[in-house]
């Protein structure tokens, strides 16, 4: 082969690569409001999109649809239904440009920069080259730990809500809802409507003591109306709602739970079958690799996975991320005035946080912090006071377990007053994957 021929060959390869690059999809991870909004905006601009969703249907936690045949007991606020119907209809119009892979879990980016996915139905890991990625994997709930929070029968309030939306049926037996945040009222009201009103709702915060923050919330409009409708249901079903009250500990008794409750300075015991806990939301960022700005394949966050701004703002934030990707790739991006709406949502969240701001009773030595590795507060307290984040991980084993610190991370951040940095670069897989699925690894079947 002459040098000339080599050069020509190289040119052809380059041309092929260029062509392939423009045909590569933009990856969107997460089929909730932010992910679907981003996918739709990209596809409407003419790009190909690979949309990955871990469940068998789109919707995310907020727009979770009932399973086929399950009764739909509660349809959610009308504006949420409208928002989702509009996204679904836009999605349908650009469906030919969106490759939707459901029941597929994003495993992370490997050392060679490959984006890896676990097709749970096929039992196969696959990799796909992409031009850019938007990760919109929502929020995780924060938990203020107390003795026994790791026991069966204790569930996160958001988890119980997802289950209720899917099955249309509330859990059987007495339920206590506790922690802090507007979700407590929402879940309690939805359980009441579904036929099992909780024994009690315990909110740690004392919003009536924060009139300034409450006044700022009063201008919120839609979310305020939503909260009022929950309060009305709870009043109608005579569900006692206490403020300045929290769970101090829980233990198993027979078929149920004995819950030690503090209200002001008085303590009492409640018997229940289920304890639903929640102390706010945190972006679900564990293990998400964020390359430096200017990287060849940009990775952006969107929705509650970037910043907790709620379901309405998540749609706008998905559009914002799509616009950012479009301009990075040299496409005209709509400059819709999203920032003002996002900033309004941010002010609402700040006022809400201020209204409910409260300090949880510190954990006892026996309190579990890391459920995955069985590490307690005493294990954390035994570490040197000046232990680095790396020492906390390697000596304390906090953040090394199966959930990769999604739950103990925020707990430790609260206790130390400083966040625990995660492994850098994050290590894949982000989620369990079978050796058989890895052995079936293939690169994209459309690649030749």
């Amino acid at each position: 082969m002459t040098d000339l021929a080599k050069t020509d060959l190289a040119k052809t390869d380059l041309a092929k690569t260029d062509l392939a690059m423009t045909e590569l999809p933009v990856l969107v991870v997460g089929g909730g409001p932010a992910g679907v909004a981003a996918a739709v905006a990209l596809a409407e601009a003419g790009l190909r999109v690979l949309l990955i969703e871990q469940r068998d249907r789109l919707g995310g936690a907020i727009h979770r649809q009932p399973a086929v045949g399950a009764p739909q007991i509660w349809r959610g606020p009308a504006r949420h239904r409208r928002n989702w119907a509009e996204l679904a209809s836009r999605l349908e119009h650009v469906a030919e440009r969106i490759e939707l892979r459901t029941s597929t879990v994003f495993l992370g980016i490997d050392g060679a920069g490959r984006f890896l996915f676990d097709d749970r139905m096929a039992g196969r890991v696959f990799a796909r080259p992409v031009r850019a990625a938007i990760v919109a994997v929502g929020a995780v709930e924060k938990i203020a730990p107390f003795e026994g929070w790791e026991l069966p029968g204790v569930m996160s309030a958001g988890g119980a809500q997802v289950l209720l939306k899917e099955t249309g049926r509330p859990p059987e037996g007495p339920i206590v809802v506790a922690g802090s945040g507007p979700l407590l009222l929402a879940v309690a009201a939805q359980l009441a409507r579904a036929g099992n009103p909780p024994l009690a709702v315990l909110e740690r915060g004392r919003p009536w003591h924060k009139p300034k923050a409450l006044a700022r919330l009063m201008t919120a409009g839609a979310p305020l109306a939503e909260a009022a409708s929950y309060a009305a249901v709870l009043a109608l079903k005579r569900v006692p709602c206490h403020v300045g009250s929290e769970v101090l500990g829980v233990s198993e008794t027979g078929q149920g739970l004995t819950i030690r409750v503090r209200a002001g300075s008085a303590e009492s015991l409640l018997q229940a079958r289920h304890l639903l806990i929640h102390d706010g939301l945190e972006p679900n960022r564990a293990g998400i690799p964020l390359p430096a700005p200017g990287a060849e394949v940009p990775v952006l966050l969107a929705g509650d996975g970037r910043e907790i701004l709620g379901a309405d703002a998540a749609i706008l934030d998905g559009q914002r991320a799509a616009s950012a990707v479009l301009s990075r790739l040299g496409h005209a991006a709509s400059a819709a005035p999203l920032e003002a709406a996002l900033s309004k949502a941010r002010n609402f969240q700040l006022a809400l946080a201020e209204a409910l701001r409260s300090k949880a009773t510190p954990p006892t030595p026996q309190t579990m912090l890391c459920r995955c590795e069985g590490r307690r507060y005493a294990d954390f307290a035994a570490l040197p006071a000046d232990a680095s984040a790396r020492e906390i991980r390697l000596m304390g084993r906090f953040g090394l377990g199966a959930c990769q610190g999604r739950f103990c991370g925020p707990m430790l951040a609260e206790l130390r007053g400083e966040a625990l940095p995660t492994a850098n670069p994050p290590r894949w897989p982000l989620r369990p994957v079978s050796v058989a699925a890895l052995a079936n690894f293939s690169t994209d079947e459309t690649e030749s």
């Binding site: 399973a67 399950a70 709930e141 026991l151 069966p152 739950f407 050796v435 058989a436």
Partner: protein, 87 residues
């Protein structure tokens, strides 16, 4: 009659479209703890984040019960409690 899967040896019926987690809870099975383990297992976050509901499917692997659609005849058990004795 509803189809069923097995939790250890116990048949658990499920409705079409239901997840393993939903079916287990409806059957009153809340405790998914590995036998003899230090840590307890249970359905908690329902979004695949907390890993507390990870169960083993015989012949397949470990999956989050909250994400996994129930299938007829699948044999499920707690995860083996390995690798947690660091002391």
């Amino acid at each position: 009659m509803n189809p069923c899967f097995y939790w250890i040896d116990r048949p658990v019926s499920f409705r079409p479209g239901e997840t393993v987690a939903a079916a287990l809870l409806r059957a009153g099975i809340a405790d998914l703890s590995p036998e003899g383990g230090v840590v307890r297992g249970r359905v908690f976050c329902c979004i695949g984040a907390c890993q507390a509901c990870v169960v083993a499917i015989a012949g397949e692997g470990a999956v989050e019960a909250c994400l996994t659609p129930a299938r007829s005849g699948m044999r499920l058990s707690p995860q083996p409690s390995l690798g947690l004795r660091h002391d």
